[in-house]
Amino acid sequence: MPDPSTSSGSPRAQSRGDWKPEIRARIAALERAADYDDIVEELAQHLEDRYDELVGEGRSEADASRLALEELARDGVLERALRRVEREPIPPQPAIGRPTSGGWWRGLSSDVRDGLRALGAAPGLTLVAVVTLAVGIGANAAIFSVVNAAMLRPLPFADPNRLVSFWGSAPAMGLPVVAYPEGLYDYVRKRNQSFEGVAAYSNPSVTLTGRGEPERLKGAVVTVNFFDVLGRHPQLGRGFVAEEEAQGRNRVAVLGHGLWQRRFGGDARIVGQAISLDGTPLTVVGVMSEGFDFPAHAELWLPLTIDPQSLDCWCFATVGRLRAGGTADSAGREMARLNDDFWRDREGKPRTNPGDPPKSLIIAKPMSRALVGDDQLPLLVLVGAVAMVLLIACANLANLLLVRANARRRELAVRCCLGASPGRIVRQLLVESLLLAAAGAALGLAVAFWGARVLGRRAMDRLPHVQDVPLDPAVLFFTLGITLATVLVFGVAPALRGGRVDLQEAVKDGARTTRAASSRRLAHAFVIAQVALSLVLLVGAGLLLRSLANLLAIDPGFRAENVLVGRVTLPWPEYRDESRTRAFYQELEARVGGLPGVQRVGLSSSAPFSSGNNQQIFSIRGREPQAGQPKLVASVRGVSTGYFQAAGTALLRGRAFETTDTERTDLVAIVDETLARRFWTDGNALGHQVRLGDDGPWRTIVGVAASVRHGDLAAEIDRYVYVPTVQMPSVEMDILVRGAGDPSGLTAGIRRALATLDAAVPLYDVHTIEEVVERSLGPRRLTNALLAAFGLAALVLASLGIYGVMAYSVSLRVNEFGVRLALGATRRDVLALVLRQGVRLVALGVAFGLAAAFGLTRYLEVLLFRVQPVEPLVFGAVVVILALVALGACLVPARRATATNPLETLRAS
């Protein structure tokens, strides 16, 4: 180590830039310190400054050099001082560059800032996570809310669990649901032990006249105890009283809230006033509260007058309120017994011999289930789909966060080294995860509210008892909870384990630890699960889409386009005279046929896909069923001469009805192809005779029409018997008008034509056939669209998941790829290596998914139309699509792997 005094002997040696050797000599022991070079340079600068100053003061260069070097002090002093600094412990600090004091809450705002910055630094990952959360939370909450409103929420009646509906069923006659006739209802209500009360109701349409335009309303004829049984009472006035069941006392009505507001301006004085219904004056006795529109969106309730002897109208639905402790099953058994008793009392002998199968059954169900009916299954399928999307979303989030946590391991470890406590790091990650969760939850809530509104509107159209679809808070909290818990657990868990990490190991570049391997295994499991769940969803969506395609390809037997339908009901008893009714409709058909833009006009007692469907017993001459054989049932339509052309239904044999068919000529009928082929092998029914009812007149078949579907494209085709309306007049008819183009503009003209015939007759229930056919597909389209959307969401989420995991996996193996490339592997080899790993995961997922799909799709069977639950085409297509998308997701990271620079990776390690 040179002495400053000896150095002074050669002053020029200490000139500018040459101080460093002296300094190095004095602190040689510190040579291995990280900042050694910086220290040497800084001290050299200082000596140079001092030297310049001394020379500037007039000292000789030699003097200046000596004095400058004196600054370094004696041997070892500087070195010892510097070593003491090195040994001094670093005081603990919460995080680098952050204030140490101020308590736990002080750094929170900076944590939020840091968190936002960190999320912004990986915008793709953040976006995917937020969207995943939004879909997971939003879709689940919205669909669960619909299910809840339709299936789980109690009916809007008092103590709804005690309400039971019951009805007859005669499957042998092709009649799954037989409503009660008055006589049977009367018998049951007087004798039953199961119910506190039994109400009956039907829902005819009525015409409100008198004030302004005549208006056709959805009405309800109900027994006087109806409101008591349901436990809902009018908000104004009263319900019906027992005396109002009597003929002559029954000229009273209860108004619905909507009708009261719309037609009567919400005037409370309406109670006690008279209104005119179908020309009959009635007194308003009450107004129901808002939202009550049972049954079937009724707006007006009228008392039902019971005739204990009458079996004329088998048209009453029933609902009973169980006595405390009763069940629907026990009530059903009693109703079945009373049914048998009724017929035995009435006919003097049992209807069936002991041991014979019963002619009819009585079915009793809790009202909530009776009302929801077939809609339950699609809803359950959607719930299942939602649960799967939720699972996929959670798996995806977990994966994203694991990948992210691993990508940040070094950052966290460095912060640990710099003195950040584990608690502080956990808090930082917690804040970050909460920010992510909050963004996802906010978007998810928006999706949930919007989804519940859209779905709710659709559901309310379809399900009569659904009044509204509020977003269910329990469901919302449930989905929020699950997804947010996923974010927090997988966002923070890596940090909790971080405390046990070997910091040195983590900080070193390219570190491999068992921890990375275990989280990679977890990520792989998530990917397999995602692929499997996506496959199940896609298969389900595929099967339903194929069903819909099959349905749309079905020939309904009529041409739906450009046909407008409206309903006309002639008031009773003005049109009691059949000849008057006949003349009215003939004139109407002629006048509407003369309107500009009208191509064809026809009348039918019930147009295709309209609400009515008159079914009657029929028999064929010479083939009447023997006693004990089931009777035959057919859909019966009274139609005008123009009907088949207006509806676009082809006549396959014989002729249509003609103006020469009148009430005075031979009775004729046209049957459809389904009926003709059922009874005549060649389908030639011409010349044979049919009869409607048990004792109607025989009618000769003059034509065979194409089969048509009514109400549901997927349903079995009914047998049809058409009769000329002139030979079977009815006051209520549908008028079908085929226009040259869009027929909706024809309504006004039809109304004018109608008004010139009778100003008191309204045209109502106006729609195009296309509309009602489309509406009949509505729930199916909704289910399909949702399942397809879920399938797509699942596909996107799964491909993101695969991409994330593969990208992460490639980043972990960069070194390995570098070594392989250095040892002579080609880029193609590396590509194959990565793809092989991806293929293995996808193949496993597909295998699990196929197994699950084989097991699950049979639950879809009821929803499928001409598609097998295990349809090879759908399964095959889904596997191919899923495999392609998944491999696409692998390809990007795989290509990145081939871009590895072997030199760089080797140098780094």
């Binding site: 200082h46 510097l82 140490t100």
Partner: protein, 110 residues
């Protein structure tokens, strides 16, 4: 003030307060202390730099190499927010100390 003990206790305060307004390099600090104390207090390389490094290690000051056109590359030190807090509290206790000493000395002058 030449006593090493006194200097040691107050040296940190001197450096921190000199860095309170602006960033400075080591030689500048030396000259400022000499000038302001009218040569009563002097630092040499062997005493100044270990002190600077210690303060930096504690996170009270932060050094950074700065290159300005036409000048040498120098390491400038600035006060961190942590250092600012330490300076405040040391200034307070220093004033209290000086005030205490003054009170002890005063009656003898009276």
């Amino acid at each position: 003030m030449r006593s090493t003990d006194l200097k040691k206790g107050s040296a940190e305060l001197l450096i921190l307060s000199l860095l309170a307004r602006e960033a400075r390099h080591g030689y500048e600090l030396c000259k400022l202390i000499e000038a302001r104390s009218q040569n009563a207090v002097r630092f040499k390389v062997a005493s100044l730099y270990p002190l600077l490094y210690r303060l930096e290690r504690r996170g009270w000051i932060a050094g950074r190499w700065v290159e300005k056109a036409g000048q040498r590359r120098r390491r400038h030190y600035r006060l961190t927010s942590e250092g600012r807090k330490v300076l405040e509290s040391q200034r307070r206790s220093w004033s209290e100390f000086v005030e205490g000493v003054r009170r002890i000395l005063e009656p003898e002058h009276a």
